[in-house]
């Protein structure tokens, strides 16, 4: 069947997206990101008895599971650190990443009622998800510090490198969050697949055990999974007083940065159609 006549082709709408203005608009809405974070935290624990305790239950439970079961089955080389501390140090950054991506990925679909009413840069939703899980990570970190004190680990000077590692991790997390959230709007299957992919990611990342790769493959792997050298880096600095492996961190940073640019561009491109399908 011949459909009705459309508009003349020269009239077609082409949205111009300039990264600079887009980022400026986003900066103007930083208060909105904080409000959304606050809302997320309030909503999440409203009408729950345990409240904020929930944010640390998940990593602690995993620590217990790994310590009780995994450690007994395989002999894991922790470099001399107590296994619980070793795992916990991997789990905090991993949980931060996976919760950010999982919640961020669904954030647009879950907030479709808002998408249809008010205009503002849509990336505030996945970014707010990252900020929200950063709050959880902060609480877990306080627990970690307590754990370190109990087990007798004195803070090392190298801990000062952690903020650098964090910047790389946040870049990578936002990049994946942006990609996931915008794709989920169009391909809802990803919403179902996301938790599975993240589950696999847990085993493909040196969270519960170090992954012994040859030095060459380690570099290649840093491109694919920038989290791997980062988590090793957290351990090296906080547990063993070593500097991060800068060559690997550099690759990881570069990879994260490229992904962030790609993710942002993808998001902005797909953003145009969000309200049509959300």
């Amino acid at each position: 069947m011949k459909t009705e006549l459309g508009p003349p082709p020269e009239l077609l709408f082409k949205r111009k997206i300039q990264t600079r203005t887009a980022l400026r608009d986003l900066w103007k809405r930083r208060e909105l990101i904080m409000t959304l974070t606050e809302r997320e935290l309030r909503v999440r624990y409203k009408q729950t008895r345990l409240g904020f305790a929930w944010s640390i239950i998940m990593p602690i439970l995993l620590v217990i599971v790994f310590t009780v079961f995994l450690q007994r089955v395989v002999d894991i080389d922790t470099g001399g650190a107590p296994y619980a501390v070793f795992v916990y140090l991997g789990l905090i950054p991993w949980t931060f990443f996976s919760v950010s991506v999982n919640h961020g990925g669904q954030s647009l679909v879950n907030n479709s009622s808002l998408l249809n009413k008010v205009s503002f840069p849509r990336e505030v939703f996945p970014i707010a998800a990252v900020v929200t899980s950063a709050v959880d990570a902060l609480i877990s970190t306080v627990i970690l510090i307590g754990l370190l004190v109990i087990t007798g680990y004195a803070p090392k000077v190298q801990v000062l490198w952690v903020p650098v590692l964090l910047i790389v991790q946040v870049m990578f997390t936002i990049a994946i969050g942006l990609m996931a959230s915008s794709l989920v709007v169009y391909v809802r299957d990803i919403r179902q697949a996301l938790p599975l992919i993240l589950q696999l990611g847990l085993f493909a990342t040196p969270v519960a055990y170090p992954i012994p790769f040859s030095p060459t493959f380690e570099k290649v792997y840093a491109v694919i999974n920038p989290l791997a050298p980062l988590i090793n880096g957290y351990r090296r600095t906080a547990l063993f007083g070593q500097s991060p492996e800068w060559d690997l961190i550099g690759i990881s940073a570069l990879s994260s940065f490229v992904l962030l640019i790609l993710g942002y561009r993808l998001f902005k491109r797909l953003e145009t159609g969000f309200a049509d399908v959300a």
Binding site: M1, T3, E4, G6, P7, P8, L11, L12, F13, R15, K28, R29, E31, L32, T35, L36, R39, R42, V43, K46, S113, L114, L115, N116, K117, V118, S119, F120, T272, G273, A275, D276
Partner: protein, 394 residues
């Protein structure tokens, strides 16, 4: 660069895909119609232009599915056109599909602040307007309750109050008021006039034509995504009413035991206001019976301005009935004569239907204050006098 509060759309086109992509593991549908529809693009808006200067108002009317909400979403900046260009300058307060983004898990208070920051207002500015919003929404202590425990009316009131009190440059109101009770609807309309007077641009979609007429200066009639008519709101609304009336008149009336074969008001030609007029009907009945004949006059809608009825005797075959109406209280305009026949139990022997249109000449109606909607036109002769009050107040 356009000034703040401008709303402009130039040759906007928008299409949606009906149906969806085929799924894996899906049972193929036998239904031919739904298979054909799948994946077909439908135009929601075709070449629509909007141009509103800051502080002006536009009322958008049209049947369901005519593209009104789509147009609003594009103007609100949440949706992008397929072709053409749309621009709204300044902060937009939109009330699209009731309860603009009220989050059910949050309290009313939290919702107000959330919506404020969605609009881009700093916290302290929301705080200064907070009391006004709560007052207007008549929420009182309920403001600290979660919004999911609100009634739909409360949610709508909160949504409207937030959208209208956070001082947007452009206010979009879409069908939202229907949920509120009559008193609150009036209050909302008043508030819309108020923000309009303060320089906010107003766009209003509603099926309540009287309120559109009372609120907006300009009107736009959309049908199937195209602009049918645009201009002075009264003319546009009148044209839309006439078309609705034609649709109603064009409907085939099922034959009943009693049928109205012909109806005339006066003897052809316009009828002068405030004079006597005769309505002549020719009615066919399949049996001799007593029944009640109702006649009424309206501007096109089924709800009449006035109606009269009388129990009459109908012979088998054709009966001619005349009814003289004295001192016809209608102002200048075009009207429709509606007729129905019922039995004493008020069961229909012939349903309420329009029969003929006629014109009335004479005086028009005096203007009403802004924001006041006249329900239906009745012309009453009035004599005025003025003079000093005999008991001057101290």
């Amino acid at each position: 660069m356009l000034p703040e509060g401008s709303v402009q759309a130039e040759r906007v086109w928008k299409q949606f895909r009906a149906g969806r992509a085929r799924r894996l593991l899906e049972i193929p549908q036998k239904n031919q119609a739904s298979r054909k529809r799948k994946g077909e693009w439908l135009w929601a808006l075709k070449d629509v232009n909007v141009n509103i200067e800051p502080g002006h108002s536009l009322g958008v009317i049209g049947p369901n599915g005519s593209g009104k909400s789509t147009l609003f979403k594009i103007l609100a900046g949440v949706m992008y056109p397929y072709a053409g260009r749309a621009e709204t300058v300044g902060r937009v307060g939109a009330l699209i599909e009731i309860s603009a983004g009220i989050h059910p898990e949050l309290t009313g208070r939290e919702n107000i602040f959330l919506y404020g920051s969605l609009l881009g207002l700093p916290r302290r500015e929301v705080a200064t307007r907070f009391d006004h919003i709560v007052d207007f929404a008549e929420l009182g202590d309920a403001i600290d309750r979660q919004a999911k425990f609100f009634s739909s009316g409360m949610r709508m009131r909160l949504g409207f109050a937030v959208a209208a009190f956070l001082e947007p440059n452009v206010l979009l109101v879409d069908e939202a008021l229907a949920v509120g009770d009559a008193a609150f609807q009036q209050k909302c309309l008043e508030r819309m006039r108020e923000v309009l007077a303060q320089g906010t641009t107003l766009l209003y979609v509603s099926h309540d034509l009287t309120s559109v007429e009372a609120t907006c200066a300009r009107g736009m009639w959309l049908d199937h995504g195209t602009v049918v008519e645009e201009g002075d709101v009264r003319e546009v609304v009148a044209a839309y009413r006439r078309s609705v009336e034609e649709v109603v008149e064009g409907r085939d009336l099922p034959r009943g035991p009693i049928n109205v074969m012909s109806a005339d008001v006066g003897s052809g030609g316009p009828i002068p206001s405030h004079e006597d007029v005769e309505v002549t009907l020719s009615v066919e009945s399949d049996a001799s019976r007593r029944a009640i004949l109702h006649i009424g006059m309206s501007e096109g809608t089924a709800a009449p301005i006035f109606s009269v009825s009388r129990e009459l005797h109908f012979v088998q075959g054709s009966t001619k009935i005349t009814c003289a109406l004295h001192d016809l209280p209608l102002p200048r305009g075009r009207y429709v004569l509606w007729v129905a026949v019922t039995n004493r139990m008020r069961h229909h022997l012939q349903s309420w239907h329009p029969t003929t249109t006629f014109d009335v000449t004479g005086p028009g109606l005096d203007p009403v204050p802004a924001a006041v909607a006249r329900l239906s036109p009745v012309h009453v002769k009035a004599t005025w006098s003025e003079g000093a009050d005999e008991e001057p107040s101290s």
